[in-house]
Symmetry: C2
DNA sequence: CAGTGGTCTAGACCACGGA
DNA sequence: CCGTGGTCTAGACCACTGG
């Protein structure tokens, strides 16, 4: 009722913030149901409609998933439908087989200029670098080089990567409680260098997509920076413009 | 218990369809205001809240633009903010100058296999092909080859393209009453061929982004197919993933 | 000031899922 | 059958714009 601030914020946004904080605090785990709209309305002393509008926005942002008759659930990267939310690569023939992630390497280093800027951490802060291959139907299609802040991923090892049967973000979520919310990709065209050409089994100099991605968790905090090189001989990057 | 209506459509969606039809019929022009929510509610004999939900969805789809205190307006490609809705190319330095479109060529032809499939028209149907250059700060960055169904763009000439100071979609909207609603882009990396390398002033074989776009108007009807070749020496394709 | 979209409420009823 | 989210209504009030 009484909300007086320099920048007016409607009640449903305040509710949204409260739900967000509960999510961030881990009050409900990914994949689990959150309380019903009625319960939340009682908890926050507002009407169901106001809770509803808050949840509506969060569902639109892919933070929550509504299921009529069942409840509202915390979005999870374990959900197979979430895989292609961040991976926009599609085979030119309609083959829908899931890609397979093959870790190549994993080592620790100190953040250089670029990594520190992209990840918003101090220069020289510990980082983890992962190289991995993505295969579609056994064919190598993507080489990724992934930079992670060391303090956010304690104990991440090459073995842990090899043992995991799922997407990287699914691993991050399950192992480190870190949920990837949104990302920004910068795409350019580059020529394959030697090592990349070997990994992707294409001639040196072949044009490749260079996809640089910064991924954010709650509070717009960057927690991953990666550069992927995509072979587009049999795949393309699909983007819907609305 | 057998469910009677597997295709249940809530009232607000029916209202949305009615508003969509009015838009399509040109009852309100791009840039103009549509009637107030109260008026529409009266017209369709529903509550304001129901109209509101219909408009909410259309605003989310960039068909309408809400302006508190003023009204709800039909989205228009004449609006400068609409320019970068479909053009995701950004200079690496933050230069925000608008690109300049330079028509190179414009001729009539008959739809080949690919064009007929992409545009959903018959093989051999008349089409118009436009070649044009996009310059950022005087530098050539994109070469587009654009395929248009001939019957949708009667009287489109090279001179008309040269005379127009604005985006192509702005021209289509103003001259032909055709509104581009959504698009789908397929992105690959290719090597510059001779003629492209000359147009973009890059060495032959330079890796370029190949951006194939199909653009749709109302009713998911495809009305444009284009292939753009983007030089990514000083620009990148920016994509937000939510 | 009047008119617009934006918020909030309370209550009724519908569609769906599962026990 | 109940509990969930989804729809629809009617009315009150707030925030913003422009005359």
């Amino acid at each position: 009722m009484a909300q007086e601030s320099p920048t007016f914020s409607p009640l449903y946004r305040q509710i949204k913030t409260l739900i967000l904080q509960a999510l961030e605090a881990g009050e409900w785990r990914p994949g689990q149901a959150i309380p019903s709209e009625q319960e939340l309305a009682a908890r926050f002393s507002v009407s169901q409609g106001t809770v509803r509008k808050a949840i509506d926005e969060m569902a639109a942002e892919n933070l929550l998933i509504r299921k009529q008759g069942k409840g509202t659930f915390v979005a999870s990267h374990n959900d197979p439908r979430a895989l292609f939310r961040f991976l926009r690569l599609v085979p030119m023939d309609g083959d829908l087989s899931h890609p397979q992630s093959v870790p190549l390497d994993c080592w620790r280093a100190k953040a250089g200029q670029e990594a520190s800027r992209m990840l918003g951490i101090e220069l020289g802060a510990p980082i983890i670098i992962v190289r991995r291959l993505l295969r579609f139907a056994q064919k190598p299609v993507v080489v990724d080089e992934i930079y992670l802040p060391g303090d956010v991923f304690p104990g991440l090892t090459f073995e842990a990567l090899q043992d995991w049967n799922g997407s990287l973000y699914s691993l991050f979520e399950t192992r480190f409680g870190l949920r990837m919310i949104r990302a920004q990709e910068r795409i350019r065209a580059v020529a394959a260098d030697r090592s990349t050409s070997e990994a992707l089994k294409v001639p040196e100099g072949t044009p490749l997509l260079s996809v640089e991605r910064v991924t954010y968790t709650y509070g717009d905090k960057p927690v991953e920076w990666r550069r992927g090189l995509y072979s587009t001989a049999e795949h393309f990057y699909l983007n819907e413009l609305n």
